[in-house]
Symmetry: C2
Subunit: 324 residues, 2 copies
């Protein structure tokens, strides 16, 4: 099955791609086995895309930005674009981002575009791993630009940064002080900052914001030595803005490549990915062992009564499992 | 050392308590060993507190609320109060909450109060575990109310809920629509909702907000069957508001106890805690093994060249480790 699915996928069949990603997101062991084969095939196939993260607080206009910038990439730069999402908060409030494709009206109608809403389950490490595998499949399917949307509110932008080559932060030119608390940590992560909604912002306010953010960045530690994130504006549908943003992304990537940072980051991401896969397997093998399940149940009493410490219990269980 | 430290801690020595918590937060194996002993002692010692979580977006006034409500608990209810923080985003922007004790001016001057800023490192499971252990030590030290402050922006409020008995959500009466996206998931978690800054809100706006939030809650699934979270107001320093909030907390806890939910939740939390401790030990034992480290390095090439899949590599490494 994976063979056939993979062949359809690389031939450009979007339904096959969607099916393959569903296997990656599945918790079913049989699906996971197939997903594992698909990932191996895709890795060997060796196609790559430029991976761009887009982060910012709710309301900053990420979806409309992606709609407009993505469409520009397709029409003006003849790229094939896929759009993915990272949303660790969606465990309970399902599908809060990309849940509604209609927010990307223009993009979702295009031929050379693939949009995939956020998967729901998993811890941060697991989300990063699944996103990487999804990116890999999209690349095998011929998409050469991957846009990863994420809500920047504390954790997800770190996950996003760990799967992309370039992280763009969207800000509002007239956001109050209350949001600044969130922004600082995120600003340190940004490779490029965009003041969004420039079309509905008065010019003096926009210019002030650009100058404020530019100043603020000077006080932050550099993420990459030698790179000062540019601060650009974006008015919805403005081709000139899109073009300048694209130029900056290209400049950043050239800078990264010339310094060796690009390759370094990709290797670090792959290392994290491999480690995460091993860790997941280790946990599942251990915690799904029926004797271990029973032993943990019995340990609860022993622990709560103070007969054994957490460390003693853990040490004993692990030793028992290894010697089985 | 742990023996002596524990004796000082239960005698009410705040410096000893601070030292003990530092051991819990430490990554040093020797410290972790001591922390493990302290936790076992504290568990056996068996003192307990009421654990209350306080969440809400940045700017909602969590610190001032804790300052005022905590002081009220100390002076009017003769309680010993400890204040902890959960902030998974602080990995990079260190100490964004509780970093500045001066934001809790009144509380931080009091005798029967212990305030501990947010620890920085770890994944969410690790943060939950360390917070539980810190709570346990504070309880052994005689604190009978634990307030856990957290930034509610997607993940940390789930962690907070997994360590407390009652989660309070603070809202602003006049927050715009942009914040609503964040609020929905959090509102489903709240056991009690408080409209903060009532002292600086016009009465009609406040009343409208109370009625809006009350209505909104009716459309959400119940977290606990039979409990509809009350929506209360809080004006800074208003004793009547504090008293009503306290009444609601007590009512919620009685409800929880009468239904058996209280004990159920505590047992679930303990189970998660034990599992987390075992998982951490399993990972450390595995990934710190020098042969495993070497083998993972060698696996990178094999994997990237497509010779073996992630699952094959993981299976092989784990089998090798178990048979050592």
């Amino acid at each position: 099955m994976p063979n056939q699915l993979f062949d359809s996928l690389i031939s450009g069949d979007r339904l096959a791609l969607a099916k393959a990603i569903t296997l990656i997101e599945s918790q079913n062991p049989a699906h996971q086995k197939q997903a594992d084969e698909l990932v191996q095939k895709a890795l060997k196939f060796g196609k790559a895309s430029l991976r761009i993260g887009i982060t910012g607080v709710p309301g900053v206009g990420k979806s409309t930005f992606i709609d407009s910038f993505g469409s520009w990439l397709v029409t003006e730069k003849q790229r094939k674009v896929c759009v993915l999402a990272i949303d660790p908060s969606s465990q309970k409030n399902h599908g809060s981002i990309l849940g509604d494709k209609t927010r990307m009206e223009e993009l979702s109608m295009m031929e050379n575009v693939f949009i995939r809403p956020s998967p729901t389950s998993g811890n941060l490490g697991g989300i990063a791993r699944k996103t990487r595998e999804t990116i890999l499949l999209c690349e095998a399917a011929g998409y050469d630009i991957t846009l990863v949307e994420t809500v920047g509110v504390g954790q997800s932008e770190y996950v996003a940064d760990s799967v992309v080559d370039c992280l763009m932060l969207l800000l509002l030119p007239n956001a109050g002080d209350e949001l600044q608390g969130i922004k600082r940590g995120i600003m340190e992560l940004a490779d490029l900052v965009i003041l969004n909604k420039a079309d509905i912002t008065e010019k003096p306010i926009l210019n002030q914001a650009i100058s404020d953010v530019t100043n603020a960045i000077h006080f932050l530690p550099n993420k990459f030595q030698g790179w000062n994130p540019a601060v650009l504006k974006n008015a919805l549908g403005n081709k000139d803005d899109a073009s300048k943003i694209w130029e900056q992304i290209e400049e950043f990537i050239s800078f990264q490549k010339s310094k060796g940072f690009f390759e370094e980051k990709r290797i670090a991401q792959k290392t994290e990915w491999l480690n995460e896969a091993i860790k997941e397997k280790l946990e599942t093998s251990f915690f799904n062992d029926s004797q271990i399940k029973e032993a943990i149940k019995n340990s609860m009493k022993v622990w709560i009564n103070g007969e054994q410490s957490l460390d003693e219990i853990a040490t004993q269980l692990i030793a028992g499992w290894r010697n089985k």
